[in-house]
Symmetry: C2
Subunit: 312 residues, 2 copies
């Protein structure tokens, strides 16, 4: 049997097959499913999985942090639709050697993040397996006039991000290389619900940066049937990312473009609205036929890459 294709191609192939009922506002293909709710709101539904040794290493993260991160990454999916989170379900696959202390501390972290967002933990299940798996399902509501998709980008829009990128990937790299540094962007990322709640009404297209900037730009371009030009030197990098790039002899922008788990927001906006939003302009939306390009001074190259769970 042939080896598995990339996650994106797999999902795209499945999307072609899967028909949904007319009342479904949005099925597969965005950060959340968008479902009917009441006259003012849509119901948002999303699920996200953290797998031991794929998304986290138990040597490097304490259970409270892991619990918080699981909730934050799901809140980020609701933020990426301009919604407000409401409830979570928690499914755990626990290895037989797991201690009750570990589970209690994991829940302590989850409940701390739930409290921060006024989220209700309303159910879930626990079962046994060989490796720890944390699956969170989150619900949210979004005002119908505010719901924002990956598909809303328009030619002429500016591309903006809500904050500095690459911090999580750098921290992971430093940890794996046993080098000192600021590990918090990887261990305690924060969803930018504050940002989408305040400025979301300006956005045309919106996505959270969970899999690296390049991959998220590709999602917006594919769904919106547009192209994009990114100016490499405008990608916001923290001093820590620049320092680590030198130390680890890597182009620091690579951490932003092809790293993951920054959970900042990427959005497109009409040029006249950009000054009203305290984000960073990194490029612009162009015609689809112009493709996705990365510009560095006078040089333009094709923007490729982005973390893919099945090709990395």
């Amino acid at each position: 049997m042939t080896k598995i294709i990339s996650e994106e191609k797999l999902i795209e192939a499945l999307r072609q097959k899967i028909k949904v009922s007319p009342q479904i506002v949005k099925g597969i293909g965005d950060d959340c499913a968008v479902l009917p709710y009441d006259s003012e709101n849509y119901l948002l539904l999303s699920t996200d999985t953290l797998v031991e040794n794929t998304h986290f290493l138990l040597n490097f993260i304490i259970p409270q942090q892991l619990g918080k991160k699981a909730i934050e990454s799901n809140v980020s999916d609701i933020a990426a639709m301009n919604g407000l989170p409401r409830e979570v379900l928690v499914s755990l696959v626990l290895p037989p050697e797991t201690s009750t202390e570990f589970v209690n501390l994991l829940y302590e972290g989850m409940l701390e993040s739930c409290k921060k967002y006024n989220l209700d933990l309303v159910g879930g299940n626990t079962t046994r397996g060989e490796k720890l798996v944390i699956n969170i399902t989150i619900t949210g509501l979004v005002k119908k006039e505010l719901v924002c998709y990956r598909s809303g980008a328009q030619v002429g829009d500016l591309l903006m991000v809500s904050g500095p990128l690459g911090g999580s990937a750098v921290a992971l790299d430093l940890m794996l290389n046993h080098l000192p540094g600021n590990y918090l962007p990887h261990l305690e990322p924060r969803a930018r619900l504050d940002f989408s709640q305040k400025y979301g009404h300006f956005f045309h297209a919106l996505i959270d940066i969970s899999d690296g900037l390049a991959s998220e730009i590709r999602h917006i371009c594919t769904e919106s049937k547009v192209g994009a030009v990114i100016e490499k030197e405008k990608i916001p990098l923290s001093a820590e990312v620049r320092r680590a790039g030198q130390l680890l002899k890597k182009d620091p922008s690579e951490y932003a473009l092809n790293g993951g788990e920054d959970y900042e927001l990427l959005f497109t906006i009409a040029p006249q609205d950009a000054p009203k939003v305290p984000g960073i302009i990194i490029g612009k939306i162009v015609e689809e036929k112009e493709g996705m390009m990365l510009q560095e001074r006078d040089k333009k190259i094709i923007l490729s890459g982005g973390y893919d769970h099945f090709s990395s």
Copy 2:
């Protein structure tokens, strides 16, 4: 650190800690979370996980069957609240060696079951891990006047089940012992949505039998603060279960009491309504102080056991 306590004790301990907002109709502790929706209905939300080598062995089940079983077990949770299922999210953890053919066949099975129940598959995610994990989240709606909890049993109620039990556990035992027999109850279980849709309005308490009859009776008794007396010889067993019991030298009732994945419904009902429902009476609800008893002819013993994911 101490070894993990049983799933039930763990969940009970967590429930004590977890406070939910007043608008949450029912949080942790039933087959689904029950959430506000509209003037007539509640929103039901549940999640269920199938883990390779815990819930299934890839040598024994084909991917289409696995896909169908994943959906059926979730539909069963909606049936166990008297609801109708609406949408599912599918999260997969796929080992690196997984083929696209496998994933396609798995989805083929899931989509076949979705079609049967008019369910929309609206999202999910795929990620990499060492063992296959299938996590399904399901939504449903239930009429407010029909919602049925584990906690509704009343002293004097009869305890009934919707069909024969133990078939799934027997099939698994036969498969593991390389003995011939009817494997379908294990490989292709069916949710009893038909049954709850037709007769659910008669039920006082309701649960699906996913973890063995003894465990489900305990849930009803604990949540309803009642006791129960089960008549062992009334537990419905198929001819196959009786035959396999002889062959494998086990008390066939044990498969029903302590097996799992039958997905029949267990409910309590007023005696005068029992004749209107084509289920099997297996016992009655008594005062809490009388405990949970298993009666075999003149002998009464304490009913113990039930499959627990962390103690077996």
